[in-house]
Subunit: 259 residues, 2 copies
DNA sequence: ATGTTTGTTCCGTGACACGGAACAACGCGG
DNA sequence: CCGCGTTGTTCCGTGTCACGGAACAAACAT
């Protein structure tokens, strides 16, 4: 029964848009009366909201989601550095962590000019298609790299890297330079540069600046991104009593075969 | 059973901190085996995580919570204005909406200097104890004001307004000035100034800047807050082609005849 | 008016949630 | 090292409540 409720809620990812009863029934594969009953319960609990015939995710979920410790602590600690980076570049800033073979975005800040990007807070993208993802992958251990390279590489645009050899070279360049570049691999007309945030020798996060291709000036962005990432790394290292222990930043090891 | 699962998850609000099985059992009033079974299910679904004997809110909740349409759309639209405000003041910025008789914070951005505040993203505070809350209350209709005034006024600090007459006067001042002030009513040594975001003649949100009392300069902050709030109001009104309109998030157009 | 899709109610059946009890795994002080 | 309180886990018989087909109602479409 919890499982069925989860099925219903998962319908709203990633589109989030409102759904009607019969759509939910179809998408979950559950019979209509079942969805009807469960959805009513979920509304009672605040997990869903209902306006007319349409169901939406409810406010309670937002409240609980904001409390998730891993996410909240890192986001909170990183925010000042993201602000610095935004102020220095006035471009779109991302903060992401690795989860399995994907990158999950914890924060995205921008000004009035809205880039059309596939990234969303709480959403995930393939590690191989974004600057943040490649920065994370390059510093997540050789086994993960091999695992990723052994599978077909997904692509978001025609520019996404699909050749394993090319990706391997790109990762090696990232490992020596500490900087990850991406040009139109996640969205057309958008380029991106990212830097990993270290805990020891592995990346616990990465942050990036995304910019319209036309005004992509890597030489100017690179120092800013690197500076912000290193500053965050240092704070996470534990100096500050204001921040939380590193243990709370552990990402799930991809060797987790349970399930 | 859903209800019991919700009880368990609600244990994590607002502290969010990790809990052990027996703590959950005690706080929910559910017998231990029941909590054990439910918690295991929740972990399987990604709603909870478990590290050793401690349960935490899971990543799935963060993902779903980020998708809640009301919250996400408003936050996304407001963000550029919050950035403007931050850049102009370099102080802590809040965005909040009203939910019942409380204010819920949708966003909070700040620099390296961290104020010690009771506000948390996704968290709620009494309408009467914060600048954002009073700004919302002042423009939410007379009935709500009376409702609030008819009950005992909660307080977060010794400076919180507890005298109904004084609060009524404060609200009237807000209504004529369009600005809401607060001094140490939510946290000691912190002052705050807020402005409502309008849709028609009622406030749909409010944004504020919080600053250490020692350097509180209302005359300089007021224009910035008002400018940002008015800018956001205008964009919400629907004109703005500069940001992506809310309508782009609807899958299909509809006319809401219900209710 | 008439078919079609969507939302809701009903209810008999049976799966499975329930939680007391008993057991196992700690952590601690002696 | 050993007893002892605490916490976590497994077991399983009982009874409940989730389940979903079927029938009905309401909302569109034509």
């Amino acid at each position: 029964m919890l499982e069925k409720a989860a099925l219903i809620l998962d319908c709203f990812s990633p589109s989030g848009g409102p759904y009607r009863l019969s759509e939910l029934s179809e998408r979950t594969g559950l019979p209509k009366p079942t969805v009807h009953r469960l959805a009513a319960d979920l509304v009672r609990l605040g997990w869903l909201e209902r306006s007319g015939p349409r169901y939406l995710l409810g406010a309670k979920l937002f409240e609980l989601g904001s409390l998730v410790p891993h996410r909240r602590d890192l986001r909170e600690t990183a925010l000042p550095f993201l602000q610095d980076l935004f102020e220095a570049t006035r471009e779109t800033i991302h903060l992401g962590v690795r989860e399995g073979m994907e990158v999950v975005y914890l924060e995205r800040i921008h000004g009035h000019e809205a880039l059309r990007l596939p990234s969303r807070i709480g959403g995930s993208l393939p590690l191989t298609c974004t600057a943040v993802g490649k920065a994370l992958l390059a510093f997540s251990g050789a086994e993960l790299t091999e695992e990723v390279l052994s599978r077909p590489l997904p692509s978001l645009t025609p520019h996404s890297i699909t050749d394993p050899a090319r990706l391997r070279m790109a990762l090696e360049k990232i490992q020596v330079s500490g900087l990850s570049y991406e040009e139109q691999e996640a969205a057309l007309e958008v380029s991106c540069i990212a830097a990993p945030v270290f805990a020891g020798d592995t990346a616990v996060a990465a942050l990036s600046v995304a910019v319209p291709r036309s005004r992509f000036r890597p030489a100017q962005l690179a120092p800013a991104v690197r500076t912000a990432a290193l500053g965050l790394s240092r704070v996470l290292r534990g100096g500050g009593a204001t921040t939380f222990p590193l243990s709370s930043l552990r990402t799930r090891p991809y060797t987790d075969k349970s399930r």
